[in-house]
Symmetry: C2
Subunit: 388 residues, 2 copies
């Protein structure tokens, strides 16, 4: 017993030790509770606050709500039932917006962190870790002669990649404006989606490459030689935005990957897809290199006919390039957009151009707008169509 007491005495300071000199306060309330009917209750312990509000990315009430204060100083708010999803949100306490107090789980989008939670029973299940074989994720650097710098990318290799000598097909997955090489992993949940779809036998095991799509940036904010002087921002504020240099440099990424990994290094086993700005990149990468990709995916693509028909050689002569792609041939040209997306009309205009040139495509029109819930859902739909 004496030994036990000594042990307990030891554990107590050890327990606090890693936090010496830093604040560590825990509230006893559960910050987010998903109820049986899939409504979600948020709780914030803030006895002194005057107003506590929530802003999330769910559709109900536009993701907005005001919490109500209980006698115990705990503020609460309950949503209507929500579809299965990964949701992001923030809490405002007396006008100061930030992460939800007490929720340790977050994701970064551009320069802000958002608290997260899942609602199970559908798509949200695919975004979580299940008891299935897991792939690996490697963060590494490649050299771009064209952009004149070392650049960072993330590579997902499927389960058992290291245990066999098999060569794999490759999906290149491109982020949107404000994103970086981490976006498809953090907000897109790509590694989990791949693990879970592979485990269900719904997709071919594949390598997924997630590069950085900002031609003047080496890497994500904080991960470049600019370190903390990198101000996260939307990509159109960075040099090189849509000047064609990124699309031009893309073959360097492909060659790097084909050299580094056991890939099936031919058109039949390569796919490229991207969201928003990454959809724009995807279009021009596939059009300017018609012999590289058999599968093309535009997810809420940042297509605007005025940006497209410029004199920039990378973006000029759309009809000719569409015609070249048709002649070269491809397995799948997949276009998805939400009916509320501000890019809806631009995508319809682009589809008209494809029709005029007689190109085949698959079109998926989803609900809602320009949001990660759609992009994750598109990946869930697109990946099973590849390499079959």
């Amino acid at each position: 017993m004496k030994r036990l007491m000594l042990l307990v005495a030891l554990l107590l300071p050890l327990g606090l030790g890693a936090q010496q000199n830093v604040g560590f306060k825990k509230s006893n309330v559960e910050p987010v509770v998903v109820n049986a009917d899939r409504s979600v209750t948020f709780q914030v312990e803030a006895p002194g606050a005057k107003k506590v509000a929530i802003r999330g990315d769910w559709e109900a009430n536009g993701g907005q709500g005001e919490l109500k204060k209980g006698d115990n100083g705990v503020w609460t708010y309950t949503t209507p039932p929500l579809p299965s999803e990964m949701y992001t949100y923030r809490i405002s306490v007396d006008g100061q917006m930030g992460l939800a107090p007490g929720n340790p789980f977050s994701c970064r989008d551009v320069g802000n962190l958002f608290s997260i939670f899942y609602v199970n029973g559908g798509n949200g299940d695919y975004y979580q870790v299940r008891d299935v074989p897991h792939g690996s994720v490697t963060t590494t650097w490649y050299h771009s002669d064209i952009l004149g710098m070392e650049r960072r990318l993330n590579v997902y290799t499927p389960p058992f990649y290291e245990k066999n000598q098999q060569a794999y097909p490759v999906l290149y997955l491109l982020h949107g404006s404000g994103g970086d090489e981490n976006a498809w992993l953090e907000l897109g949940r790509t590694a989990r989606i791949m693990d879970n779809l592979i485990a269900e036998g719904k997709i071919e095991p594949m390598i997924v490459v997630m590069p950085n799509g900002n031609p003047s940036k080496q890497a994500a904010p904080g991960e470049t030689t600019d370190n903390l002087s990198y101000k996260p921002a939307m990509s159109n504020s960075f040099p090189g935005y849509k000047d064609g240099s990124y699309e031009k440099s893309f073959t360097e990424i492909i060659h790097f990957i084909d050299n580094r990994y056991r890939t099936l290094a031919d058109k039949a086993h390569r796919a490229v897809a991207g969201l928003s700005m990454g959809g724009f990149h995807t279009l021009y990468i596939s059009l300017n290199y018609p012999d590289y990709f058999n599968y093309v995916g535009l997810f809420s693509a940042g297509l605007d006919m005025s940006a497209i028909d410029t004199t920039n050689p990378m973006y000029a002569n759309l009809d000719q390039k569409l015609s070249d792609l048709k002649r070269s041939g491809y397995g799948l040209f997949w276009i998805a957009i939400g009916k509320d997306d501000f890019l809806y009309d631009a995508n319809q205009q682009f589809i008209d151009r494809m029709k005029k040139q007689g190109l085949d495509y698959q079109y998926v029109e989803s609900t809602r707008g320009h949001i990660w819930a759609n992009w994750r859902a598109y990946l869930l739909q697109f990946a099973p169509l590849l390499f079959k």
Copy 2:
């Protein structure tokens, strides 16, 4: 010009697009400014707040300060000059503690996020990204028969690992209580320290393995099949804490790494080091497997003689095991602790035991206590002593 206007019109909605439905508010004040004299000024725009305070991990004023409100609604606080370092801090607005508004850069410690900044001109330089060749970091999973689960670990491979056929020595780097496989990367800045020390020719290029040291947890919070029901906590609240099972399972990690990577798979080319609980693990891994490691590093090790001399076979017979290690031989037994560390006395008691058994060791006594600033500094000192 008309085309330019159209382009601008396109860029605007695209710029906001990725943020549709989520809050994105930017303040114009710089959240943290490192001044020429290395004092640091913090700014928070909070016109309606009554009290804004800061809590950080610097020594000056115990890291505490109260910001003062200016006429413009911006609160400011300036520290005295600070040593070069990576600092973590949080801001409290009217008693609500959280990340610093406007600072997009953070690190997680246990279950909380902390805002970060660097002061240059010394150790802090090593924790940032420089224009040097970069290694890769892979997050992968191994199977433990002993612990009965898939487990996650991070592996740093040095620059050019993929471009040659060389075999490399391996450093196993263990986290403390409340930590996980990400702690040495996030708070420890290990990949950057390694890149920068290798570039300066100060260390041998080596592989660094950062496993998860909680025997009942597969991975970091949010990365296990428990997903968001994993409540981050200090390790002593988890099953298996110091029951010997983790040390017993450690050879599984070594075998996994030696199979997966091009390692120099012998004692001469293996090192193990750990902080706090990881120092305790390090001691018993090196003592119970005296033929595995030529280099041992205890960083503020969680040693307590009452925990050590238990009947658990893994922790019993310390003197006999020390004697076995002496007979087996080793290149370096390195012990570092801060003079203000609550584990200071325990480490001195352990050193007495080593002395009695006639074991050689190197002892480094630093300033301050049980903090990451010390552990990063210890890695900077320890790594150059390895594999030479």
